[in-house]
Subunit: 293 residues, 2 copies
């Protein structure tokens, strides 16, 4: 079973000591945990803005001067879409934090040979980390795929399916499919770290996690608007823990008793997958606005 918590690094401008501190991810167990990444000489906050064109490769050269071959869709994108040529500079990433600069050494009909012009770097997760929890096991019509794709694209660090009264199962097949969706999305959006799709958890386990966690946002109707809630709770907000609707009233009460913070998502009735994404988007944009204050 994979860890329920990914490494977290808060980037509040008023908490510089936390921003700079470093605690290794394995020193924590569940998602009550907090960890941060070390200072870096790279500006990696904007993981996909500007810079060299970046492509996914499972394998990276182990050191400067090493060569790997890039084929398939990434090759297509390099050669046909961007029309890159021999000696053009590009970056390769492996979705596990590995990143290396280099150039196209040679190009033929089926792929390119990439040569590393520096040693590969291993980048630790940057910025605030969002752990998403949603009961999406029974969503139909590609809605679960969509939820996973968008969580990946928007930078969630993990998604955990919840087994609740209304959504009590998730099939193995579906989990496999969602893994593939997430992987494809991570490649497409050039995430340096793949999103973790956790095994499903039951409601009792969730309550236990909430009670151990610093801040859990529970999306419910008629609650304080999300942005007001996070602005008020900024000092104590170390990590985010999102729990989405489609709960029964009793389940919501139990989550709030366990220490969850109720937040409202505006005037509209949102589907589970929309509410999940609305929460995540807003937190990502809020975090983005905090970092430049």
């Amino acid at each position: 079973m994979r860890a329920l918590a990914a490494a977290s690094r808060p980037l509040f401008s008023d908490l510089p000591s936390l921003v700079r501190s470093w605690l290794p991810p394995h020193s924590f167990k569940t998602f009550a945990s907090v960890s941060s990444s070390p200072p870096s000489d790279l500006d990696l906050r904007n993981q996909s803005r500007g810079g060299l064109p970046r492509f996914f490769s499972d394998d990276l050269p182990s050191r400067k001067g090493g060569v790997v071959r890039v084929q398939g869709s990434e090759f297509w994108h390099m050669a046909k879409v961007l029309r890159l040529k021999q000696e053009d500079r590009v970056e390769l990433f492996n979705g596990k934090g590995g990143l290396v600069e280099g150039c196209i050494q040679s190009i033929d009909k089926t792929g390119v040979d990439f040569i590393a012009q520096e040693d590969p770097k291993v980048i630790l997760p940057q910025g605030m980390q969002w752990q998403m929890f949603a009961a999406f096991g029974t969503l139909k019509g590609g809605r679960a795929d969509w939820l996973i794709e968008k969580c990946t694209e928007l930078g969630a660090s993990s998604v955990t399916p919840l087994l609740t009264e209304r959504s009590s199962i998730i099939s193995e097949n579906r989990v496999d499919r969602l893994e593939r969706v997430s992987f494809a999305a991570a490649k497409q959006c050039q995430r340096l770290h793949q999103m973790v799709l956790n095994p499903p958890i039951k409601f009792d386990t969730l309550l236990d996690h909430i009670s151990k966690s610093k801040l859990c946002l529970v999306a419910t109707a008629e609650a304080t608007p999300l942005l007001n809630a996070v602005n008020v709770r900024i000092e104590s907000m170390i990590k985010s823990f999102n729990i989405i609707c489609d709960f029964t009233k009793k389940e919501v009460e139990m989550m709030l008793e366990a220490g969850g913070t109720a937040v409202g998502l505006g005037p509209h009735r949102l589907r589970v997958e929309t509410a999940t994404i609305a929460l995540l988007v807003t937190l990502v944009m809020w975090s983005d606005s905090q970092e430049t204050v």
Copy 2:
């Protein structure tokens, strides 16, 4: 050709006079326009929170005591999902602002007869109105459907497809399909007003609209984070006008010259449909947080 602007009502807490004022929608032409809805004795801000269970019906009773029959999926939801019985109180809405309270007069195997217990109301659009513009004519894999469904669900007042250098066409078939998607979503999320899907416009027309509009948010990389931009521009922000990525650099420059405001959407590279929804979600949540200050 449908109007490009839906009625707009800003709900800034610091602009109470605007909130209360009323200008009929037809007094304006393009989406440089602003209009507001009249005061109402109903709390309609939360269009789908609390209150009676609400169901869609094309036809509403014309007055108190009138009866209409509800069948199909709405009947299914009433009778099978919520297990409503004879004499249970419900509301019917028609997606054009019409809303009426009443109860189930009788119920049989194929539908229910609904009897109005009051005269129907016609509700004008509430809250801030968001006009979305995005180049989604060439999106594949259901992404355009998804964009339209989520814009509808999140309360956008209109969506206009843009014809740009990179996305120069949108087929008639696709427009028909998107109309159906929007209609289904409006029913599902119980919007009192259906979203308007405008005819596609070309880039030149867009520039013209931008130059006439009070505030146009243009999503671009490396720009001021969205929430910082809207917090600064709150006083002049009467309506929103969203233009999404997948533009060439030259197109972005032209939009900014025409008066667009560049806004950033965080550190990740987002697909067109994700960027559109990210902008809309954030503005909806921001608006929600302003209304309760």
